[in-house]
Symmetry: C2
Subunit: 137 residues, 2 copies
DNA sequence: GTAGGTTATCTTGTATACAAGAGGTTTATA
DNA sequence: TATAAACCTCTTGTATACAAGATAACCTAC
């Protein structure tokens, strides 16, 4: 019988907790949360995505996305438009403010990534990423 | 410039998401969430812990613990008592219901751990755990 | 013995997360 | 072209998470 301390679900939860806290602190100057930033990164990859497509790319429920989108719209980072072809679809675009900041935001995320991994060798980094990507039930 | 898809914060968040979902599904029959179960595992390790000590062991804010504790008390899994020596301290004990179920709950957590790791070799499992434990800013 | 600092917990406010269901839009099909 | 089926988004309810402040109990120095 192993302790919860050695359970991968627990270990993973706590590593995730530390990673989130690190990124959160670095995004504080922008008044953006990690998820809000990630949402915008998806739009940087492809602007004008639908809410559902954003959810598929960053693996989030539309119920969760609704709140994040609301706050991003209120803060002026993105705007929401109904698709002209399909009235069901809500498309999201970066505003000028969003476009102006997205490069710096991406750098912040990348810097966080590098700092979190700085204690590991190149082999360990690749291995960790591979194991986590393969990780599923 | 790397994509958010290769960022360790994102990869970690999604692996965590899958692990939580897997454990959550297995705990459904008990009407317990992963965090509620983890809280009880801490008490199995040492019954009568204070709220603060539980928070240190499972790395959770007392604000978060308050809600979890409330729900566990309401459902009859644990009881809350003020320490006889120190009126500030709230001690938590497993009830009879809690004690009766904790073994099965621990087995469920362990089974989840095993299933999540079944695709990995023994070496990979140890490596993954070590890398995640070392993982910090 | 009491003022003042420390400690432990609780409360409030904000932000994820997801299940489940509602509502509106489009598409398929008879 | 009705009408059912499918699709997309939004809303509601529950459960983490944490920051910041409030509250109550304890302890220390004088």
């Amino acid at each position: 019988m192993i302790s919860y301390r050695d359970n991968i679900v627990f270990i993973l939860a706590k590593a995730h907790q530390r990673a989130q806290a690190s990124l959160k602190a670095r995004l504080q100057p922008f008044s953006l949360t990690p998820m809000q930033c990630l949402f915008m990164e998806a739009l940087w990859e492809e602007d004008g995505l639908s809410v559902g497509e954003i959810g598929r790319r960053i693996a989030l429920d539309t119920a969760t996305l609704a709140g994040i989108l609301d706050r991003l719209v209120t803060a002026g980072w993105v705007r929401r438009e109904v698709d002209s072809q399909d009235g069901r679809v809500a498309r999201v675009y970066l505003t000028e403010k969003g476009t102006g900041a997205i490069g710096t935001l991406a750098e912040t995320m990348e810097q966080t990534n590098d700092d979190l991994l700085k204690g590991f060798s190149q082999e360990e980094r690749l291995l960790l990423k591979r194991l986590l990507k393969d990780f599923r039930d």
